[in-house]
């Protein structure tokens, strides 16, 4: 394998065509890495939630489609507030789905940093509900 300019040009084309962001070739001692800035523009996403990936903390996500309730009953106090310390297994909220009240429990111990959904709002599968600082 010779790393001549024509060969590298072909590799560049391949990188573009296949939408790859990086390609590494190793031939004995020699090693060639091609890296592409940017890559193909991703299709517009209606559900991009940049905060999900960028901020610190552990996310509790909804395991089902339904309505988010912060309280066990309308007049009762909320299960948790921002700043509360919660233990693994503690109930954080209720997701009502098809008239069934499903208790959602924390899978980590820590402190509630943020409540990401309004009381009574519809939530979809996988939607972040709480951000917890694990401890």
């Amino acid at each position: 394998m010779s790393f001549d300019i024509e060969f590298i040009r072909k590799l560049c084309a391949l990188l573009r065509e296949e939408g790859l962001s990086e390609l590494t070739l190793v031939d004995g001692e020699r090693r060639l890495t091609l890296r592409r800035e940017g890559g193909p523009a991703p299709p517009p996403s209606r559900e991009a939630r940049p905060e999900e990936a960028e901020e610190e903390g552990h996310l509790i996500r909804s395991p089902l489609v339904g309505t988010f309730w912060r309280r066990p009953e309308p007049d009762a106090p909320p299960f948790v507030e921002v700043g509360d310390r919660v233990e693994e297994g503690q109930v954080l909220c209720i997701i009502e789905s098809m008239k069934v009240m499903n208790e959602i429990r924390s899978d980590k111990s820590g402190v509630i940093q943020e409540i990401l959904v309004e009381d009574g709002a519809p939530v979809e599968y996988g939607q972040p509900l709480f951000r917890i600082a694990p401890s």
Binding site: E18, L64, S97, Y125, G126
Partner: protein, 445 residues
């Protein structure tokens, strides 16, 4: 009916979305976690993530779909094809919640889903069926019926469908060997291990008839479709009308299909399938839903079958008689699948790169693919349906050849070359092919 939830994905979800728009209906779609970027999601004003990628947890998740309908205020559900489209429990759950299920009532789905029961209805309506057995549970019953019917036979799952759960047995040894395995497969695939036997016709033509029934009991048919080119009992090429049949045979098939639809109490659209052997025909099954190959009937009749479904579901009458339907020219459809011809047509996954797509006069492309789309291992490998239509079969066939030549996709392997082989095969060109053409072509390679 004001707002329709589309409980499906891929090209059919797009088709339904667009038909709803034409009908002036609002739409909400659903998607799995893996399909947030899918076209049906991006193009619908509202979409709900209903579960993780595997279909059992998302597109087959009855609770999540009904919850999504409730949360978004949908008052109707269109199930598309596959997934929950023939599930009577789902249709019943919709009804219990006051949602319009766009399809037949649960009782009709149950009747059609039980292949032995459906045969009985056809028989009672005076439509010929292939000689066959009742549901069989023991080896003794099986052997007794097999010797009565005579080999070769098809061993079929009572709750099977879509070409699955069928095996050919040529003698007693194959029958006994296949029985236990087929029972196990039927149990895991369809939740019902019951099997039955049916006489096998070696070189039949597989012809189906599109039927429509409104809620007032008025039934029409939209002519015949031929799906003789099959692989493992799955349709690969479909055309309308069915070639090589006399006008008289086409008329008899149309009338028989209407009789079956009436007998089972169909409301909505359906497909009645027959095997044609010379001058005889036999009812095989009725699919009470929209079918993948429906476009070949649409282009000949000049009407939109999904819109007809939506109107029937709203209680509107069909508004025309059989005699008023004019059939135009010829139509063909092929399924472009992401599959690897060099590895026994296993599904091929990867990122789709589109170089060129079919188009031009008499060409229709129904697809959900876009540049850079990820083909996932969880779902049906269907990438696109290419439909061509023309004044004659030959014009339509050549047009299909041209359309396929224009199709250039990389990133995933497709069955395009095999389709070109079929379309240009002399037997296909003369419409002298039987159901084994494809097997012969693939074994030849």
């Amino acid at each position: 009916m004001e707002k329709v939830l589309i409980a499906n994905r891929g090209e059919i979800a797009l088709r339904i979305l667009e038909a709803c728009r034409e009908e002036g209906l609002q739409v909400v779609t659903v998607h799995s976690q893996a399909e947030k970027e899918a076209l049906h999601v991006r193009l619908s004003p509202e979409s709900v993530c209903i579960g993780p990628p595997p279909p059992a947890k998302s597109y087959l998740n009855v609770g999540a779909i009904l919850a999504a309908a409730e949360l978004t205020g949908a008052d109707a559900v269109h199930p598309g094809y596959g997934f929950l489209s023939e599930n009577p429990d789902f249709a019943e759950a919709c009804r219990d919640l006051g949602l319009t299920f766009i399809g037949p009532p649960p009782e009709v789905l149950r009747r059609c889903g039980d292949k032995v029961e459906a045969r009985r209805y056809a028989q009672r309506a005076g439509v010929p069926v292939l000689p066959g057995s009742p549901p069989l549970h023991t080896k003794e019953e099986l052997l007794r019926w097999a010797s009565e019917l005579g080999y070769p036979l098809l061993l079929k799952a009572v709750s099977g469908g879509g070409g699955r759960g069928i095996r050919l047995v040529r003698d007693e040894a194959e029958l006994l060997e296949g029985f236990t395995r087929a029972q196990r497969e039927a149990k895991s695939s369809f939740g019902n291990q019951a099997l039955y036997l049916e006489r096998y016709i070696p070189s039949p033509r597989h012809v189906e008839v599109q039927v429509l029934a409104d809620s007032q009991g008025h039934i029409v048919h939209w002519g015949t479709r031929d799906c003789t080119v099959q692989r493992r009992y799955q349709k690969v090429v479909e055309e309308s009308p069915a070639p090589g049949l006399s006008e008289d045979m086409r008329r008899r098939l149309g009338a028989a299909a209407v009789k079956v639809a009436e007998a089972v109490g169909l409301v909505g659209v359906g497909t009645v399938e027959f095997l044609v052997d010379g001058e005889s025909f036999y009812f095989i099954e009725i699919n009470p839903r929209i079918q993948v190959e429906h476009p070949v009937s649409e282009v000949r009749v000049g009407r939109n079958l999904i819109r007809e479904q939506l109107r029937i579901a709203q209680g509107e009458p069909l508004g025309y008689q059989q005699e008023q339907i004019e059939f135009w020219g010829w139509a063909m459809e092929v399924r472009i699948n992401a599959e690897d011809p060099e590895h026994d047509f296993l599904p091929s996954t990867g990122k789709v790169h589109i170089h060129s797509l079919p188009g031009g006069m008499g060409v229709r492309l129904d697809t959900h693919i876009y540049q850079g789309m990820e083909v996932l291992p969880y779902y049906d490998p269907l990438l696109a349906k290419v439909i061509t239509f023309g004044e004659t079969r030959e014009e339509t066939r050549v047009r299909m050849y041209s359309a396929l030549r224009r199709l250039e996709i990389s990133g995933v392997k497709t069955n395009k070359e095999l389709l070109l082989d079929i379309i240009s095969h002399p037997e296909f060109a003369q419409a002298k092919h039987a159901t084994d053409l494809l097997d012969r072509l693939t074994h030849h390679q």
